[in-house]
């Protein structure tokens, strides 16, 4: 948030971060989060979409210590401190995987496919990793 002033004259764009990959098997989820925080620091209008295997990123109770990795779930909790509250989760992706947002680490908005498609269509910049 401190670096927000270093560039552009107040342009605010709608940035959507699309998360479709499971955590830990690849680094994309973790490195995507780093961009999300920077986009917030630039005072952009940030949304996150979780669909397909991306929904696994939000499960609570991760314990990657036995495989020598760091649990990065706390970063999702920190999003609120950056005023990032638009987290959209695809309902059908949850259902197909037998998951429920009750097991999620942060509050999210569950949307159906039509709503998710509309959210995607309304963006200025879409980042996928």
């Amino acid at each position: 948030m401190t670096m927000a002033g270093e560039e552009k004259a107040g342009t605010v764009k709608r940035f959507l971060f699309v998360n479709r990959k499971a955590p830990y098997g690849t680094i994309y989820a973790l490195e995507a989060l780093e961009v999300v925080l920077i986009a917030a620091a630039f005072d952009q209008d940030v949304s996150l979409a979780f669909l397909d295997d991306g929904v696994y990123q939000l499960l609570a109770g991760n314990d990657p210590a036995p495989i020598g990795m760091k649990n990065f779930s706390p970063t999702y909790r920190a999003l609120e401190d950056y005023d990032i509250t638009k987290l959209y989760v695809d309902r059908e992706s949850l259902a197909l995987r037998g998951l429920d947002t009750a097991a999620f680490i942060v509050p999210v908005s569950v949307v159906d496919r039509g709503q998710m498609a509309a959210i995607m269509a309304a963006q200025d910049v879409v980042l996928s990793f």
Binding site: M3, E6, K8, T11, F15, Y28, V35, Q44, V125, S128
Partner: protein
């Protein structure tokens, strides 16, 4: 039009780095400008000065350097992703610079379009 490009994969293993280069070249031929090419994740390996592919293969890193020199394109390698993967000033190819993720977000804000290539 001013176009930003994000490259998420390294050279040779995935086609993403090739597609990004071909797209950038075509955009220039069509009369557009490239706001910046940002290299993230394994994309940072595109900036390695130490690659030495077979002589009859395309020279991906050199190709980026040439594009930067001839068209004044800003090639930026993400510092955090690069440190994690062993790309530093000492093995950075000509035309590339190392900077932060703010440069990617800035490209999203300032460019008219941001096109992502990855795996």
């Amino acid at each position: 039009m001013n176009i930003g490009i994000l490259v998420n994969e390294g050279p040779y293993t995935h086609q993403a780095a090739d597609s990004a280069y071909q797209f950038a070249s075509a955009a220039l031929r069509e009369g557009h400008t490239i706001h910046r090419v940002f290299f993230y994740h394994d994309g940072v390996y595109n900036g390695s000065s130490l690659t030495e592919p077979p002589r009859d293969d395309r020279q991906i890193v050199e190709r980026w350097s040439t594009l930067a020199r001839e068209h004044h394109i800003d090639l930026v390698v993400c510092v955090a992703a690069a440190l994690r993967r062993g790309i530093r000033e000492q093995n950075l190819a000509p035309g590339f610079r190392i900077s932060g993720l703010g440069q990617l977000v800035e490209s999203g804000i300032q460019a008219d379009r941001l096109v992502v290539f990855g795996d």
